[in-house]
């Protein structure tokens, strides 16, 4: 686990350590079981094709979970997630690696909390941003 990041160490434009995910159909089934979302477009190829898709696609909520991990890995055990938002613009298919990325867009204080806004997104193997989003986090301070 990386060292705890403190609010003082953050600068606008700073990049978050990226997170590579290699989802498989097996993982989508596992996610279906854990989340209770058994919609067949996520694991049944014939069903997906019958729904005008090229094949099974990732659950949008699994993609937001990847972005959630990107952010919670970065903020460490003393940070807290305040907001996590993303749009599923492009579809992602199992068997293709995707990379969760992020960059700090704003650093500020509000109501006594030390906050950081980040732009976050998922990038596919072709370098396309399939899932743009934003996050707001609370970070600990070196001054306590």
């Amino acid at each position: 686990m990386a060292e705890q990041v403190y609010w003082e160490d953050v600068t606008e434009g700073m990049e978050l350590p990226s997170l590579v995910k290699e989802p498989t159909t097996r993982q989508l089934v596992q996610y279906a079981g854990a989340s209770g979302d058994f919609y067949e477009i996520h694991y049944d190829k014939d069903f997906a094709i019958g729904n005008q898709l090229d094949g099974p696609i990732l659950h949008g909520a699994l993609k937001s979970a990847f972005l959630g991990q990107l952010v919670t890995d970065w903020i460490g055990p003393q940070g807290a997630l305040k907001r996590l938002q993303c749009q599923y613009r492009g579809m992602d298919a199992p068997g293709n690696a995707i990379t969760a990325k992020g960059a700090v867009t704003r650093k500020y204080e509000e109501d006594g909390q030390r906050l950081v806004d980040c732009s976050i997104w998922l990038e596919n193997a072709e370098g396309q941003n399939t899932t743009p989003g934003n996050a707001t986090v609370i970070l600990p301070s070196r001054s306590g």
């Binding site: 995910k21 596992q30 079981g33 854990a34 979970a65 959630g68 991990q69 919670t72 997630l81 996590l84």
Partner: protein
């Protein structure tokens, strides 16, 4: 099934906005949190290691940020049939107020916030924005999720 060229009227939109679901309550189980963390491939010890979690800012095991997606059965009954058989998730926006811990009893209520129609690659699509509020057993709102459902 063929897709209607246009579906949504302003009257239907007005009827739907504000519709609320029945509340659904789920008890948060430690094993469920662990299975969920495994399914998303997140090995953060705050989800499965009590000793490590105790040293975190939460002071105990917590659930991953999107765990509340596993509260199922929150049904919105619109006053009309949304006559499209296919569904896509358009996006979600979570706000967090309190951590979710094993043993919590979380009650979810969803409400229709907006309904609109657009034409795109998949034909006529209806976008339904819902806001789900998750409340714990202490009557504290732990999170809200604004979600966009695309029916086509």
């Amino acid at each position: 099934m063929s897709t209607p060229a246009t579906f949504l009227t302003e009257e239907m939109r007005q009827q739907a906005i504000g519709v609320e679901s029945q509340p659904v309550t789920m008890e948060v189980e430690k094993g469920h949190i662990q299975r969920f963390a495994e399914a998303i491939g997140d090995t953060n010890p705050v989800y499965n290691d009590e000793a490590a979690a105790r040293k975190s800012s939460y002071g105990s095991l917590v659930a991953p940020p999107t765990f509340l997606r596993s509260v199922r059965g929150v049904n919105l009954e619109l006053p009309f049939e949304l006559s499209f058989s296919r569904r896509l998730d358009g996006g979600s926006d979570w706000e967090y107020f309190q951590p979710v811990r094993p043993g919590d009893r979380i009650t979810a209520v969803a409400r229709v916030a907006e309904l609109s129609e657009r034409s795109g690659r998949l034909g006529t699509m209806v976008f339904m924005t819902t806001i789900t509020t998750y409340t714990n057993q202490f009557d504290e709102v732990v999170a809200t999720q604004t979600n966009t459902l695309i029916a086509y």
